[in-house]
């Protein structure tokens, strides 16, 4: 009897490693092409019914983002912008109120570097369109005139759900924030469906919960200049990875690149940075922080990161040098043939 038990035990031990060979069957990977955004979704261990519902949730949320938050096509957001300009108090649509509340908070904590009230400046630079502008850049006088009126989120007063605009130059544009906000809403809904392991990657920015089976989710961070993968990172239980880069929307005019991340202090595209990658536990905040730190630049980003409560940052400057905080450096693994030059900041 004992002999037989030993044999069975031995067989089980020897067969255990083979169990992992079927893990690929647990992974469902799909690309959803919805309302101008390509969403790459990876689900581990989800049932066919959960997968079907997940795809419906993603489609619905992208439709909301497209129709409710659109900054230049007629939408509830463009209605709000008109009423803010008129300067009369009005009731904010419920689907936009939490977005505005969170945006006001992030505006304050970033010292105004994340400023969704500069929609007019973004439009002046030609980035309110489905295709990038060709140039030339706007006239300096036009930029100065818009800057003089100093539009900011503090120019919007909130009384419960009632909004009042106190600066007619304010025009909301949630381009630096809406995608993160939508990803958070998608993840919340997927968790309510009982999904425990998923990555939702909307056009390169993502939030991941759970694991890929027995191991963490692994993310490749693409090289903002050149090709291939700059670095990789393994994610915790619930983390978002957002990157803002000067390569996302831009045009070249007479040898100069003009990109879409406008510095609210100067009115011009922020200079000195190629990309900023942020890891955080909230996608909307990661999205806004990546923009704010891009604007802050290679010298000032640690101060702004502290104000925003961001713990992991990697900034690639316009010389290709990499700036990171020590905690990020511990997690990043470079994937390039030559290790890039790294400048470590103080602890955040």
């Amino acid at each position: 009897m004992r002999l037989q038990q030993n044999r069975i035990l031995l067989l089980v031990i020897l067969l255990l490693p083979l169990g992992g060979c079927s893990r690929q069957e647990q992974l469902h990977h799909a690309q959803l092409f919805s309302f101008g955004t390509l969403v790459d979704v990876s689900l581990w261990g989800a049932s066919p019914s959960q997968i079907e519902h997940a795809e419906q949730v993603i489609h619905e949320e992208l439709r909301t983002m497209h129709h409710v938050w659109h900054a230049w096509q007629p939408s509830p957001l463009t209605d709000i912008n008109r009423k803010l300009q008129e300067g009369t108090e009005f009731t904010c649509p419920p689907e936009l109120l939490p977005l505005i509340v969170q945006a006001k908070d992030l505006y304050r904590r970033s010292g105004g570097l994340f400023n969704p009230a500069i929609g007019r400046l973004v439009a002046l630079w030609g980035f309110h369109g489905d295709s990038p502008p060709q140039g030339p850049p706007p006239r300096p006088e036009a930029i100065r005139k818009l800057l003089a009126s100093k539009p900011g989120m503090d120019d919007i007063t909130l009384h419960g759900s009632r909004l009042l605009g106190t600066n007619s130059a304010v025009q909301l544009d949630f381009g630096a924030f809406a995608k993160g906000y939508a990803v958070d809403r998608i993840i919340d809904k997927l968790m309510r469906l009982g999904i425990k392991n998923v990555i939702v990657n909307a056009g390169g920015d993502l939030r991941a919960i759970g694991h890929h089976g027995e191991r963490p989710w692994r993310i490749g961070i693409r090289n903002p200049r050149g090709q291939g993968v700059l670095a990789s990172i393994e994610l915790g239980e619930d983390e978002s990875v957002f990157t803002s880069g000067d390569y996302e929307r831009f045009y070249d005019y007479k040898g100069t690149r003009y990109h879409h991340i406008i510095d609210p202090r100067t009115g011009y595209p922020a200079r000195g940075v190629t990309s900023v990658t942020v890891i955080h536990d909230n996608a909307a905040e990661a999205d806004a922080a990546a923009t704010a730190l891009f604007v802050a630049g290679p010298e000032k980003w640690p101060t702004v990161a502290r104000q925003l409560g961001i713990k992991y940052v990697m900034l690639v400057d316009d010389k290709g040098k990499i700036h990171m905080n020590p905690a990020m450096a511990e997690r990043i693994r470079f994937e390039t043939a030559d290790r890039p030059e790294v400048v470590l900041s103080e602890r955040l």
Partner: protein
């Protein structure tokens, strides 16, 4: 373990299993480079038959705006021409890692690279 508990056949079976483990590991787990093997092209939601990245070629794919030209060489793929305005698909360069996806959104063409085992679950950019 007392050797009298195991017969000669048992010992042979154990040796065979242990010898098999390195091969199983190499076959199913140890694609350390995560190299892509095929590219799947999706045009407006319709997937074309996958193409091996070892088949060097230049191919034209008809999108919603017009033709996009793709090049496959050295186990990589890239857009070399597309009728979109931003040309981000072209600027993104070569793609070779299993799990990578790249798209020309205006022309509604998406490429997904697959391999036996992806080193990365997804890509941030």
């Amino acid at each position: 373990m007392n050797s009298t508990l195991l017969t000669r056949a048992d010992r042979l079976a154990i040796i065979a299993c242990v010898a098999l483990l390195p091969w199983l590991y190499a076959s199913f787990w140890n694609n350390a480079t995560g190299t892509g093997e095929e590219v799947h092209i999706v045009v407006g939601g319709r997937e074309l038959p996958p193409i091996s990245l070892t088949e060097e070629q230049t191919l034209t794919v008809q999108g919603s705006l017009g033709p996009s030209i793709l090049e496959i060489a050295d186990n990589r793929v890239r857009f070399i021409s597309s009728p979109c305005q931003g040309k981000q698909c072209i600027y993104s360069g070569w793609h070779s890692h299993a799990g990578e996806f790249v798209a020309c959104l205006p022309n509604r063409i998406a490429l997904q690279i697959t391999g036996r085992e992806s080193r990365f679950d997804t890509f941030n950019y």
